[in-house]
């Protein structure tokens, strides 16, 4: 029994948004009631995820709050949930961003078909939370795909003018990767044992991973990697991202950047690395190269963007490059940095999309050239936005710094047997940090300073609701920047274990 009297917290985390759907569908015609139900549900979910955080034992590497019930015995599938240091911060991040998205959307950003929007959001939350909790490969896949349809509808119904093109591109890219991963998951199941003892449970698979031959790992890692690389997205699979972000409604952009992209990095660390150490080693050079390319390419492309939302979208490509770089240098600093960077990117880029959305709601312009001088009219907006911009470019004292710093530290320590090492990749990646300062500050200058347009003079500053949405993100950004150790303490033991599994030298493959 836990101190809060809650035993199946993880299951509850999955059930609450589903339960919220019931009253929501009942009131689907009543916009006011629907908004209230959605806000209450996502707030309850947020509180519960904090309860989960409080039940988590810091310093243990293994899975906690573990639950397991057989689901489809014919496929060795069980309903298996658990958290460790990798996921324990990502879950509250998800619930917070969802709550903020719902809160912001209920303020008038979504005007048509509110009931359907909120229903899609709750369903999306089930998928997002489930992805970070599932310890069974099949269950993970189900949640991974469950995120797809609601987001498809959110972009396609409430998006911008080219929404249909953007949403189909998003879905088809994602499906192409994930269906190949499904084939790989079934292949893992078949390779996991003799008929009758096969399983898809992650802990059991890791224990029995010596059965996976090096050749098998090479191909299966490719299939998993492709799915995660598209989701992240890594260059050159990123082309869906700018379209999806630009067309998505603000709330959709927030969770798309804040949460959905993390599913890729999370998948690498949770499944691909510990299960397929040989596959990881085989694909390592390519993945490091692509990560650094993403950092530089994302940054360079961001510099020349004329559309504010597209700029933030491309900056995500660069930031995700840091995440994959941190993962694939295969040392504890890099991995901890990668997870911190994921959490930080969730809050900061989520906030940036929120502010771009707020600004668009007021001015109806997204072209940077059309904006300018807003700082004079909107002091509050400018302050918040400025802090998030600084956090995004990695200013020490704000959350962005620690993650990127640890990733770079890990990169410099990277020392492979063959090929270029950390001293080659590290400086290249560091250039990305400088470029981030260039495009972000230049953007901030063009949008906020200068002379203000006549049409924008009468536009109001942040409303109380918008401030309420931004304050938690601001607090977390500052807190994570000043006390990163608090977060690292949660993350480190589990990540050390994952890296140890991925680099275990004593590990022998049986044919």
């Amino acid at each position: 029994m836990s101190p809060f009297g809650l035993d199946h917290v993880l299951t509850l985390l999955i059930v609450i948004p589903l339960a919220g759907l019931v009253p929501l569908l009942f009131f689907i015609r009543d916009d006011r009631a629907v908004k209230q139900v959605a806000i209450v549900t996502t707030f309850a979910e947020l509180i519960l995820s904090i309860v989960m955080l409080s039940q988590f034992h810091i310093g243990e590497a293994g899975y906690q709050l573990h639950e397991k019930v057989p689901w489809i015995p014919g496929l060795g599938v069980s309903y298996e949930l658990g958290v460790d240091g990798l996921s324990v911060l990502l879950v509250p991040m998800t619930t917070l961003l969802t709550f903020i998205s719902v809160l912001y959307s209920s303020g008038g950003a979504i005007k048509t078909r509110v009931g359907e929007f909120m229903a899609a959001f709750l369903l999306l939350e089930v998928g997002m939370v489930g992805v970070f909790l599932a310890l069974d490969l099949f269950l993970f896949y189900v949640f991974f795909e469950l995120m797809l349809v609601p987001m498809y509808l959110i972009i396609g119904i409430w998006g911008g003018t080219r929404r249909v093109y953007a949403t189909l591109k998003f879905v088809l890219f994602t499906l192409a990767g994930s269906l190949l991963m499904l084939v790989a998951i079934i292949a893992v199941y078949l390779a996991s044992g003799d008929p009758g003892s096969r399983t898809l449970s992650l802990p059991e698979l890791i224990a029995g991973r010596a059965r996976f031959s090096a050749d098998f790992q090479f191909w299966v890692f490719l299939a998993f990697g492709l799915a995660f690389a598209i989701k992240m997205p890594m260059v050159p699979f990123h082309t869906w991202l700018p379209d999806a972000h630009v067309e998505a409604p603000t709330a959709g952009s927030i969770v798309l950047a804040g949460v959905l992209l993390k599913a890729g990095g999370y998948g690498f660390l949770r499944f691909a690395l510990p299960l397929f150490p040989f596959g990881t080693q085989a694909w390592l050079p390519v993945l490091i190269l692509l990560s650094v390319v993403a950092i530089l390419y994302g940054a360079v492309v961001s510099v020349v963007q004329k559309d504010l939302k597209k700029l933030v979208a491309y900056s995500s490509v660069a930031h995700m490059g840091f995440v994959t770089l941190g993962i694939f240098v295969l040392n504890a600093q890099g991995a901890v940095g990668a997870v911190l960077q994921m959490v930080n990117h969730g809050f900061v880029t989520g906030a940036l999309f929120l502010f771009v959305g707020i600004q668009y709601e007021k001015t109806h312009r997204r072209q940077i050239a059309d904006l300018g001088g807003l700082a004079n009219r909107w002091p509050l907006y400018t302050t918040f936005f400025g802090v998030f911009v600084l956090a995004s470019l990695g200013l020490p004292g704000l959350s962005g710094f620690v993650g990127e710093f640890l990733v770079l530290l890990g990169t410099f320590k990277f020392n492979p047997a063959t090929g270029p090492g950390g001293l080659f990749w590290g400086p290249l990646a560091a250039i990305g940090v400088i470029l981030a300062a260039v495009y972000l500050l230049w953007m901030f200058q063009r949008v906020m300073f200068g002379t203000v347009r006549e049409a924008y003079r009468s536009l109001p500053d942040l409303s109380p609701l918008e401030v309420a949405c931004a304050v938690p993100l601001l607090l977390l950004t500052v807190l994570l920047g000043i006390f990163p150790q608090a977060a690292i303490a949660y993350i480190e033991p589990s990540l050390a274990r994952i890296i140890a599994l991925a680099t275990d030298a004593s590990f022998v493959v049986l044919k």
């Binding site: 496929l75 189900v142 349809v149 088809l172 499906l175 269906l179 079934i186 292949a187």
Partner: protein, 481 residues
Amino acid sequence: MITDVGAVLPEIAVTITALLILLSDAVLERSQARRWLPLLAVAGLVAAIFSGPFTTNGGSYFSGFVIVDTFATFFRVLFCVLAILAVLVAPDYLERRRIPAGEYYATVLFSTVGAMAIALSADLISLFVGIELMTIPVYVLAAMQRRDRYSNEAGLKYFLLGAFSSAILLYGFSWLYGIAGTTAYAGIADVVARDGLTGVTAVAIALVTVGLSFKAAVIPFHQWTPDAYDGAPTPATAFMSVAPKAAAFAAILRVFFGALGPLEFDWSVLLAVLAAVTMTGGNVVALAQTNVKRMLAYSSIAHTGYILAAVAAYKVGGSAGAAVLFYVFAYGIMNLGAFACLAYLDLGGTRGATLEELDGFSRRHPGGALAFAVFLISLTGIPPTVGFIAKVFIIGPVLDRGFVWLAVTIALNAVLAAFYYLRVVVHVYMYDPATGAPRILPAPLLSVGLGVAAVATVVLGIVPDGLYRWALQAAGPFVVR
């Protein structure tokens, strides 16, 4: 004799129901008939489901013409369920389109009896009788809208090609009889086990393969499908896109693994190539369609390919057979549902079913649109739906058999299919209704039928284990040792 009759009680129940419907159609007044005939049909089918066992150790009846094993009982229930759905989605459409209701229900039920007979067959003769009893009513169903020339075209095309393929099939059966001197599967199995693959057997197999491929719509024997599905009255299309296909696969399993199972010849590579060609061809052509009925017709060809992939993995044993049965069940519910959703649009007598006509369907009929989306997502193979689980069950044995390329082909085909299925969802959910789009007429029974099917699609996607274990047991007779 009494035990023989007892063994086929469900078939008798369906037949009697069909006769009762014809009788009451003649006796009852129109308004009375409209109300009671669907209920009578559903009651008869439910009675049929529960008058037989769900699992059994198997028994031979009617001097070896009929076998009642779990394979037969599985399909028996499946056909009755499909018939129930086909009855539920029809009344509103029939009423508005002035299609004679009594004849429609009776024809569906007779076709169902034929399909059940196929699953029960233990002999080429009873198999052939079953096939004809199933398909002839379906030709009638296709042409049931007498004054509509597309419906006539559908019926005629289906009839000509169906008769042609039946002839080829029967010719193949006669070769088998010539080889074995008997028409019983068991007798044929003994002879092919003794003689192995001879030139004569090869000819017989080729003829039977072609005949059954027509029935299942395997490429290149699929050309009748789009026209027949497109022209037929929509509820009839819903029924004929699923029941005959399921029955064709029942026949394929009975003949190839019952009668010809002992052959040492390995046709799995041949079947795998046919499967890959069928799924890819169906999907590629479906991509180009703007008429949703034709699009679903081509996509149903692609689904034949997926099922065939599991058949190709038959050497793996029970899991391959179970995959076929599970997929056929899942496909039956979701594809019938998808076609029936189109009935909302052409209720009023328009020809219906272009993509543009679906614009804003979610605004005009939220419930129907939701059901439609569920079926389409399930057909795509996205969780948590039965279509997703069914694909997983197919990919398993295919990989186990070593056909990695085929598993990858299935995955890539699912992406192709996602494109056109989700494009329909785009029109349903993301476009506004055209100005002057006709109001969608209320169709209460259609909504009930679709609701049941949509709930089943999701529930079976979340708790598939019971159905899968049943399918595994039913596939027992075909486990290759």
